[in-house]
Symmetry: C2
Subunit: 337 residues, 2 copies
């Protein structure tokens, strides 16, 4: 039943060799004779020897594992990033320990603890919406563990990051809305403390300014989840002066916005244009389909993972803090004129 595990030692004993010789034979050490190598290899093959990773890691003090903290995995963008991370770490021969903060500060702190306990060699993190302090992230840095933020970066920590050009993406989208004739463009954003939201707001404002359209604070609302859309959008539509476009912080908000705007009797895009952000699956099945800004999450995941691995392995050539920016792309569909 409980078959003894095959170890270097057991192989050594069986073959009348020393463990060190077996170890060397297994890793093709030049000093070992071809004959011995063959002998050891054959035996190992036959008895399905599997090196004990734990022992190797303890011995070498490197465990080829990185931690990933995602705020919400049931989300097109973040799951796409995760897929990108996975692809890259697989290539680099790293395992991923997956943590889910679920947009909750406490769980985020706990996730960091977990990862430090597991002695990962690096951490990829995107902070939760509710995170306001960042000692836990500082602890990672203090422990000399590589840390790369992606998308929702933490401005309080000075470390590598990979972000989307939120400003440019928003600018392009809003400028496009203006070019197609919109003049009263509402912005449905997130908590402005998150840089991604703030940057998009600036892109939005600058696009308006460039086109000599006044920026109206009344047209800027925090509105980033379904329930808020159902509250905020009808309110806006009840005003005397209603917008002729909505620029939304993500595709879900845009999709619900489409619904509400249609239900209120307006035509899309003739009366009101709507633009999302992310380019998730959802954009293809709303009616009309959604114009949006592609965030290239997969690429972001890959680049973040690559950067982290380079840091870990000391092969990152750029000096100082590295800040990568993923280009966004306007994807025009039918929800805009």
């Amino acid at each position: 039943m409980d078959k003894r595990q095959i170890t270097l030692k057991s192989i050594a004993k069986a073959l009348n060799l020393s463990p060190s010789t077996v170890s060397r034979a297994m890793k093709d050490h030049p000093a070992i004779s071809a004959k011995t190598k063959a002998l050891v290899r054959e035996y190992a093959e036959k008895y399905k020897y599997k090196p004990n990773t734990l022992a190797i890691r303890l011995r070498t003090n490197r465990n080829n594992t990185i931690g990933v903290i995602v705020p919400e995995v049931v989300h097109f963008f973040f799951s796409t990033v995760l897929a990108g991370i996975q692809e890259e770490t697989e290539k680099g021969n790293y395992n991923i320990i997956f943590c889910h903060s679920n947009e909750d500060y406490e769980r985020e702190v706990k996730s960091v603890e977990t990862l430090l306990d597991a002695r990962v060699c690096g951490i990829l993190a995107s902070q939760s919406k509710t995170t306001a302090s960042f000692e836990h992230f500082q602890e990672i840095v203090d422990s000399n563990i590589a840390l790369v933020f992606f998308d929702r970066i933490c401005t309080g920590i000075n470390t590598d990051k990979v972000v989307v050009d939120d400003y440019a993406g928003a600018f392009k989208a809003v400028d496009y809305l203006v070019q197609t004739g919109c003049r009263q463009i509402a912005f449905l954003g997130m908590n402005p403390s998150l840089p991604i939201s703030n940057n998009r707001r600036m892109g939005y404002e600058d696009a308006l300014r460039k086109n000599k359209i006044p920026v109206d604070k009344d047209f800027m609302k925090v509105c980033d989840v379904a329930e808020m859309v159902h509250k905020v959008v009808p309110e806006i539509l009840k005003r005397d002066k209603i917008p002729d476009a909505f620029f939304c912080i993500n595709d879900e908000v845009a999709a619900y916005c489409v619904q509400i705007v249609k239900a209120s009797g307006y035509r899309i895009p003739e009366d009101i244009s709507i633009c999302g952000f992310t380019n998730s699956y959802i954009t293809e099945v709303t009616d009309p389909t959604l114009t949006t800004v592609d965030q290239h999450g997969f690429e972001m995941g890959k680049q973040a993972a690559r950067l982290l691995i380079n840091r870990i392995e000391g092969t990152e050539t750029k000096p100082g803090i590295v800040s990568k920016v993923i280009k966004t792309e306007l994807v025009v569909r039918d929800s805009t004129r």
Copy 2:
């Protein structure tokens, strides 16, 4: 700079104790004096001692890590299951190593290797669409590692599983379609080698039979991704006898189906009803919103993880292979009469 790590040994030296005493003090061993405990604790606190998990795991031969293999994480259902798994493993104090087969057999095999190499204490897996052989899964069992399949179970392996009551879910949905007046119900399914698809097909057929409606093979198609919908549905709509309902294998198929059916000039649900499966976000933003079958992915993830942990810890009381079934629920929205 390169601060030496705090270890039990280093604490022992500093405090003039033996490592074993320190070890015991840290874990509140009854034999240690309160004074010593306090001393050790204080020192550990001050210098932020963190036990080396790797060493503990090597020593105790248990690493509190489980592996998860997901076929496609950018997918409402699977990411929801992952979130459920994460919630439960966090409670149980297990880490998750995340693997992504990406619906690819080769990567699935590699994932299993990775997890066995990492010496996880258990594996949760849902197989990829392209998996036809299962020696890799058998290897898990042979290695005496706990294995629980979820959703896309592998029928070739005799082990614990957690599935949705696909048959009942399909039966309910199709029966509902019939009750609401549909008579020609098409089934857009997956590769019939996957049990989930086969079970739903049987539910579909039995619901028709129960209602004395002939089962027509021409109304049953393999059609489970966007591109296929764009090919298959228009073909069906070109026939002399077209369906008055589509029962779809997932919500994405249903959503694209809505689009195509509308574009072909039919009204939903007056002319044609459409029903999906999963109850993902998408169902709320199509127009009309989608009737679907809720799969309760989060619950499935939790139960699968719980079952696996019980197996690992030997606390599963049920004898033999355990097969859990998650109840589905028909969610009626506007795409059906």
